[in-house]
Amino acid sequence: MIVQFNPSAFGQTRWNEYFVRFVLGGTMTVVAGLLAARFGPVVGGLFLAFPAIFPASATLIEKHVRERKEKAGLRGARRGKEAAALDAAGAALGSFGLAAFGLVIWLLIVRSPAWALALAAVSWLAVAMLAWQVRRRV
């Protein structure tokens, strides 16, 4: 299965849907900062992996797929849920990449902050893609 980039998908999302994601993402970043300031970095760090925009994203995926299928005269309700379920399965695999990101930050950021952030981002992508490839073959 080949990974495809489909820029026309931008047109499917309305500006208010982008706005909701922006506000949720911004709010969660503020909340993570407040929690770290109030309860310390152990609790604050947990919330760096909080599924803040997951409900909004999954709902959008379900809605877009349902609308597309119904437009084509198909029953869209079930297909919408399946698409959201696939997205959630992908996020579960991507979480291993997020764990790798945290590991690199933990081990390297005191020695070299810039390199640690760059290496952590690369590790996230590499581990997430590896997990996805392994899942496909199993």
Partner: protein, 116 residues
Amino acid sequence: MVLEYALRFLAGGIAVSAFAMLGDTLRPKSFAGLFGAAPSIALATLLITLSHKGAPFAAVEGRSMIVGAFALASYSWVVCVLLKKYLLSSWTATTAAMVIWFVTALGGSAVLFQVP
């Protein structure tokens, strides 16, 4: 203080939106889902944390993030099951499963780090 949190809001909003937009354009859906677990909030937060609280504080946050990531994996897997097997709506499944994230993250942190 207000400026710091305004900056966090802006950086977090931009990072989360950017990863979400990238995920929207990718196929298959399972691959696009990887971006649902992108380190968007972490990147925005850690950059500001580094300048305000220093690297040792950020290192502890990174260690906790590993536990948070496994909580996110459990949460995502439960959401997938609720959608596929029980055919709940996305909103119901994703909000109901939040309890899984909290139990795994706070439980894991309590066992491993004795916090909270």
